[in-house]
């Protein structure tokens, strides 16, 4: 199994730590990094050895390990401080930390952030979802067409669009879990299908959203979502992003599902042998990812007053970048939603400070690429707890 290469786990443990045996249960544990969102305990419970991994996590702290574990948070802080230092100033004021600008930063990362949270779940089970940008486009088109052209109410439109994302994701999950096609391939196809559906549904045109109570207008009562801020303070997308992030973190902490998630990502075979419903977990994870992508699509459409079939091109790559910078291993089994949130914010701050300094857009691409490589390199250096 190639995954083993990325996890120097069992074999590389320091001698003073509890030895791991060769039972399948321990294989599952080996793939899971203690310390990631209850991962150790989670996988442990999943395979019926509850205590041992927790003990490992407790005993192997250390400053270095901590630094690595909070890599994305420290990275975010470092980029944030650098942004303050390198920020252009106007009349003595540091432009980067102006309230307007920080609001812009968080608003700009919100859509990618929402998608990236869904992507984190998928990557945690060792999969990938390339369809999220296209699903965002489909959802943006869907909400605009339903509300404006079909004169649906806001709520039914949103519910249907979310359901489409959910079902789309679930179907992709089934294709990968039941037929056994790699998720890369399934979602690559899904990308094309969602983009095609978006173009068909919208006749290839951007559909403008106007608010009002007349025909072909989205209902006035919901125009608040189209406002750029909630109560003049919090940008709406940020509010939604924050709610999704908190919900995801809480969900991973309290639900039994998270144990299964990390177990599948750690070692799918062992997880299956120890009774984890692998197919169900996979379908659910892709469904969640599709749901969040379509939520981001609704946010996108409402913010831009338009749903266009070309929305969200390339967003999947930004989302994957946020996840990777957030410290989640592409091999699965290791990572966290909080890391992803920090990763998304890091990218947002980086984008913003580069733009404020008018760095050439081609150089910006270069710098972002290097940051992603650096984050991935840190992953490799991370000690095996």
């Amino acid at each position: 199994m190639t995954k083993a290469q990325d996890k120097p786990a069992a074999g590389a443990r320091p001698a003073d730590e509890p030895a791991t045996g060769a039972r399948p249960a321990d294989e599952a544990l080996a793939g899971v990094r203690p310390g990631d969102e209850r991962a150790g305990a989670a996988a442990g419970a999943a395979v019926g050895v509850a205590k041992a991994p927790t003990a490992i996590a407790e005993s192997s702290g250390g400053v270095v390990a901590t630094l690595f574990r909070f890599q994305s948070v420290f990275g975010l802080l470092a980029v944030f401080v650098a942004a303050i230092i390198f920020s252009p100033r106007r009349d003595g004021a540091i432009l980067f930390v102006s309230a307007d600008n920080l609001a812009n930063v968080v608003r700009a990362v919100s859509e990618i952030g929402i998608i990236a949270i869904g992507m984190t779940f998928v990557i945690l089970i060792g999969g990938i979802d390339l369809s999220v940008g296209a699903v965002l486009g489909l959802a943006a088109v869907g909400s605009a067409v339903l509300m404006v052209e079909s004169d649906w109410g806001f709520l039914p439109s949103v519910v249907l669009v979310l359901a489409i994302g959910l079902v789309f994701g679930a179907l992709q999950g089934m294709a990968t879990a039941m037929i056994g096609i790699q998720s890369f391939i399934v979602t690559l196809a899904g990308l094309q299908i969602a983009r095609g559906l978006a173009r068909i549904w919208s006749d290839g045109q951007g559909v403008a959203i106007a608010y009002g109570n007349g025909p072909h207008e989205a209902p006035d009562s919901f125009a608040i979502l189209g406002e750029r801020t909630f109560g003049g303070l919090v940008p709406i997308p940020v509010l939604i992003f924050a709610v999704v992030a908190i919900a995801a973190v809480v969900f991973l902490r309290v639900s039994a599902f998270s144990r299964h998630l990390y177990a599948v990502g750690g070692n799918e075979k062992a997880a299956r042998l120890s009774g984890v419903p692998v197919v169900r977990v996979k379908v659910a994870v892709f469904a969640i990812c599709g749901l969040l992508a379509s939520l981001a699509g609704i946010v996108h459409a409402v913010q831009l007053n338009q749903g266009s079939p070309n929305d969200g091109i390339g967003y999947e790559l930004d989302a994957i970048a946020a996840v990777v910078i957030g410290g989640t291993s592409l091999a699965g089994g290791r990572g966290s939603v909080a890391g992803t949130v920090a990763g998304a914010l890091l990218l947002g701050v980086l984008n913003n400070i580069l733009a404020l300094n008018n760095i050439d857009s081609n150089i910006q691409l270069l710098i972002k690429g290097l940051v992603i490589v650096a984050a991935a390199a840190l992953q490799r250096l991370r000690p095996a707890s």
Partner: protein, 335 residues
């Protein structure tokens, strides 16, 4: 210790969010009040101009940026910054917001799409930043001036040229369209249909979308050639797709059977004017980048403290073998 991770990140998010929202009210007061109430500093001032480009992947748009930069070099008071939205409306909104944060003196924007950019352009305009909109419009009238070509007119000219000059006795036309959903695509099509109306014997027998791209134009033409044994003219919404179609026809030895027309006529070695000069295209129609005109307007507003026309439409020019070399030399004297 491991439980610290999530709360820490959450706290960071919260801090960011709070920092982003806490002091909005006291910041807005020190921005300039009403629009255009800024005192004009005239020739003594130093001005930063922000240019927000929809994308630089298309040669036409890179040329627009280049034209702006070249024209701005002639005005010592100007410094121009460039942002590339990479065809993403959301990114372009963020780009403009960054310019507002930087308190630029004038915004030039070539919007990716009208509707999504309208609000942020209005925001800049309401903050007293003069806004010049190039090529593609925004909605409403919250901008200082619009400078652009008329795509309907260009399409019409192309249609007339094909109906009168290339196919006076009628014939079969295939149309290679730009990216579905893009306004110029719709307008270049509508104008074309109006332009060929005068000659009912001209028939559009097929159309396909090449997304403005040379390779897509070529691939689409491959299929069109197979499906249509008799094609007399290929009307392409831009020069790169026309070149792609020419290559596809040449590959099956049919390039002499038909004529090709394009639009844009960039005065660069890979542009449409050279293609006409070298005989691959029968004609192309200039679609001015407006870079020079935008800087002239900016100079009028900032340096001369004057006003400009709200809307300025630049005329298209027909380029065929008779004038291609001369126009190329005129527009691109160095190469």
């Amino acid at each position: 210790m491991r439980k610290l991770q999530a709360p820490l990140a959450a706290a960071a998010v919260a801090a960011l969010v709070l920092a982003g929202c806490g002091t909005t009210s006291d910041r807005t007061s020190d921005t300039p009040q009403a629009q255009n109430s800024k005192e004009c500093k005239g020739a003594d001032g130093k001005y930063t101009i922000g240019m927000s480009q929809a994308n630089v992947a298309e040669p036409y748009r890179q040329r627009m940026d280049d034209d702006i930069l070249a024209a701005a070099k002639e005005v010592p008071q100007f410094e121009v910054k460039f942002a590339d939205a990479a065809q993403d409306n959301a990114k372009q909104v963020a780009d403009v917001e960054n310019y507002i944060t930087q308190q630029i003196d004038l915004l030039i924007i070539s919007p990716n799409e009208a509707k999504p950019l309208t609000a942020v352009v209005k925001k800049a305009y309401d903050k007293g930043i003069p806004v010049l909109v190039l090529d593609r419009k925004v909605e409403g009238d919250a901008y200082t001036g619009f400078i652009g070509g008329d795509n309907v007119q260009i399409g019409t000219e192309a249609g007339k040229y094909i109906a009168e000059k290339l196919l006076p006795n009628g014939g079969n036309v295939v149309e290679l369209k730009g990216l579905a959903g893009a306004t110029p695509q719709t307008e270049r099509h509508d104008g074309f249909i109006a332009g060929i109306k005068g000659n009912p014997k001209v028939k559009v027998i097929a159309s396909a979308s090449g997304d403005w791209l040379r390779e897509k134009g070529q691939a689409q033409m491959d299929a069109l050639l197979k499906a249509n044994p008799k094609i007399d003219v290929v009307y392409s919404h831009n020069d790169p797709m026309a070149e792609g179609a020419y290559l596809a026809a040449k590959a099956v030895g049919r390039e002499k059977e038909m004529k090709f027309t394009g639009i844009d006529a960039l005065p660069i070695p890979s542009g449409g004017i050279k293609a006409v000069e070298q005989g691959r295209l029968s004609a192309t129609f200039t679609y001015p980048t407006n870079g020079k005109e935008a800087i002239a307007a900016a100079k009028k507003i900032l340096v001369d403290c004057g006003t400009i026309e709200k809307s300025q439409t630049l005329q298209t020019r027909l380029i065929d073998e008779s004038n291609a070399a001369a126009i190329y030399a005129e527009e691109n004297p160095t190469g």
